[in-house]
């Protein structure tokens, strides 16, 4: 698969419900998560439900589609800021939906797609955006495991790796 994307934003939050904070760079710990993030610290909403959730990603293209209100079914038109969607990394040009079970590189770090993220009612209620749950169906991002850790930076290239 040939594609080349970019890391636009890095966000972490120290615990559930706490507003996300943008970082210029972050350290990823293999098998655990992002330094300073709730899913490394065990303080996330879903921390008690173990799953692959060391790092979560979402496509900037999805946020742009939401802002345009496209597609019109389910019809949500809303500005979802990168600081608000509660995924850690906002990407551009990365086909997240094709990366389940695949390895890819963010800067020097290697991630493996675990499963497609599924939208949650919790986020809709937290942000008070009615319809956000439906609006994110099937494009809610990707939950990943960290295979090789290191520091990632805003603007890092995101590239596929051969399996």
């Amino acid at each position: 698969m040939t594609w080349a994307g970019t890391l636009l934003h890095i966000h972490v939050a120290p615990s559930a419900s706490v507003e996300m904070e943008e970082l210029a760079e972050a350290r990823l710990i293999p098998g655990r998560g992002i330094e300073g993030d709730r899913y490394l610290l065990g303080t996330g909403t879903y921390s008690r439900k173990p799953d692959i959730r060391e790092v979560t990603l979402i496509e900037m293209e999805v946020l742009e589609a939401l802002a345009q209100g496209e597609p019109r079914i389910p019809g949500l038109k809303a500005v979802l800021d990168p600081a608000d969607h509660r995924r850690n990394l906002t990407t551009r040009g990365v086909p997240l939906g094709h990366l389940v079970g695949r390895r890819f590189r963010v800067g020097d770090v290697v991630l493996r797609g675990g499963r497609m993220n599924f939208p949650c009612q919790y986020l809709e209620e937290l942000l008070g955006v009615p319809g956000l749950y439906e609006g994110l169906l099937n494009r809610s991002g990707l939950n990943c495991a960290i295979e090789a850790g290191g520091v990632i930076r805003r603007g890092d290239p995101i590239l596929p790796l051969a399996d």
Partner: protein
Amino acid sequence: MSPRLIMKLDVAEVRRVPGDVILATLTHPRRPLLPAATAGAHVDVHLGDGRVRHYSLWGDPADRGAYRIAVKREAEGRGGSRRLHEMLVPGASLMVSAPRNHFELPETNGPVRLLAGGIGITPLLAMAQALAASGRSFRLHVFARRRATAPLLEEAQRLLGPGRVGAHLDDEPDTRVALPALLAAPEPGAVLACCGPAGFMAAVRDAAAHWPEEALLFEAFQPLAGESFVPEPFEIVLASGRRLAVPADRSALDVLREAGVAPPASCEIGVCGSCLCGYRGGTPIHRDVVLSPRARRERFAPCVSRAVGTLHLDLGDAGRAVEPEAPRP
């Protein structure tokens, strides 16, 4: 109870006013607009040591640029206000939740009487500003010991104009008024909202005993005093059929927490409503101050309320936040 965003806000302005009160203005470091609040709402302030306290917002709800809280230092309290007085310095950061409102005025057209005892003026001052903006008829009655130490009285008079604020001060006999006389004749459709110390609210409740129940709105900062209440053990049955014993010396919330099924909780004294859950059967002993008589038929506050015998709890709503990202039913 829906989750609320917790934000790291800047302490933009701090003013010490008489009565050992700090007026603090909280703003967001990056967002010009904060999550909207309705008049009567409060925010949770995280004290950084695991404790959380709620403070009513007294600013104009139409001003979304800042949250304004008034913190009275309670020397005899549980220590939260003393800690917060140390934390409220200009330039500091404070973890603060988005607002929630358990003290909302009904949207009727009748005139509104706002009765404030001491620091209980905070949510009523927000209401008064919203009422003034909507053109609804109202009057704010402030009850305090002395003018010099009446929290927010000066602000109220400045923001609302002196004609809409009545100050009733113990040390100014001319200003004093008997509650039964003040509340003798409710106008048709009138609403009374009251906030203040427990004794003050009890006196208002007595004086308004002839008002229709739905015209009365009380906000309590303190849990109901359970002078003679002796906790007894009881049993919880969950929707799954699982049975949990609640000993006399522990709360239902504690027991739910140990079982890994606790709803989110905040104040743990029955005033914030964070841990509210449903029940399907049994005889609860409600000891919270959040639920209306109607809501008490189906809702339960496990942090302070108890039950006789067996209570069938429904944690449906509360449990959802810890479920995996599952589709809605």
